[in-house]
Amino acid sequence: MKAIYQNTIIMLMFIILGFTIVLQFRNDSEDYSFISAKTLDDLQGAISKEREEINNIKRLIVSTEEKLNEYQRALEEEGSIKEVLINDINTMKLISGFTDVEGPGIVIRLSDSIRELYEGEDPNDLIVHDGDVLTILNDLKIAGAEILSINGQRILSTSEIKCTGPTITINNHTYGQPFIIKAIGNPETLDAAIKAPGSYTSNLKEVWDLIVESYVSDRVRISRYQGDMTIRHITPLEGE
């Protein structure tokens, strides 16, 4: 009888001991360090950013699955995915600038001023610079231009616009003025980007007296990139 009593008490006490130890372990594992409102805010921002990223990736998964389904359907129905792949290639070519394209857009003609120089004025004030062209291109991109060309040279992601004396070199071809910039996109926004008071182009026209002529057209034709792309340094990363 006494042994049972003793053992029960010992067991009870060890239950208490184990309970408190585990409680302490659990309690201690949480971090109670001081957190400022800014840290909290930063962390919340980071969390929402991560969530957004997750959503983007999920969307990517969905679109990739759709693509896969498309391939599989093509395989089942026609026995080959050749057609789908050819479609893909055409889309890629369209985006990367290896097809002639046509669409609504704007044509801008940019040439040097024809007025006389003032006494002692820098003649640089009267000519079109590479920077002017670059800024106009950027304005057009902001206004939603999808495809751009200058004097028939398709603008690719690698196209340079470089000052070479009184001329400008684009895609390794050198052109004198006038520069004809073509852009395909929503003609209204493109036109607004050029003509809006205070925009870079209107400044060129009003302040610097350069000659800027533009017209909107429903059928702007832009030819494909004429040169060829040599890839020497890049290698695609697998599994990204």
Binding site: Y5, Q6, N7, T8, I9, I10, M11, L12, M13, F14, I15, I16, L17, G18, F19, T20, I21, V22, L23, Q24, F25, R26, N27, D28, E30, Y32
Partner: protein, 113 residues
């Protein structure tokens, strides 16, 4: 021994699954109390090996030491003197002492076999 291990297991199990929490400010006191309780347990182990085990002494030492250590730490906090060091040194030192004696007893038992 067996009952002790079963009890410990049960306690750990309960601690893991019961949703009990306490404010983090009490964490230190409970740590010191646990140290005191552990000291009592080692003392009990030693005395049981020496066949001098007494339940009353064990129980009173277990709770008494734990509560005293906790209160000491609390008072130390109030006074601005880290009194819990006293508990840590006293019980920690005794814990190792007890363990050393237990070790010796066990080794002797092994040798005499």
């Amino acid at each position: 021994m067996l009952f002790a291990i079963i009890g410990l297991m049960l306690g750990i199990f309960l601690g893991l699954y019961l949703p009990v929490t306490y404010p983090a400010t009490y964490s230190l006191y409970i740590s010191v109390a646990i140290l005191a309780a552990l000291d009592s347990v080692f003392g009990a182990l030693r005395s049981s090996i020496e066949n001098k085990f007494n339940t009353e002494i064990f129980v009173s030492g277990f709770f008494g030491n734990a509560i005293l250590a906790g209160i000491l730490a609390y008072i130390g906090d109030r006074l601005g003197v880290p009194l819990y060091y006293a508990a840590i040194f006293a019980f920690g030192g005794r814990l190792f002492q007890n363990f050393a004696i237990i070790r010796r007893h066990l080794l002797e038992r092994l040798r005499s076999r």
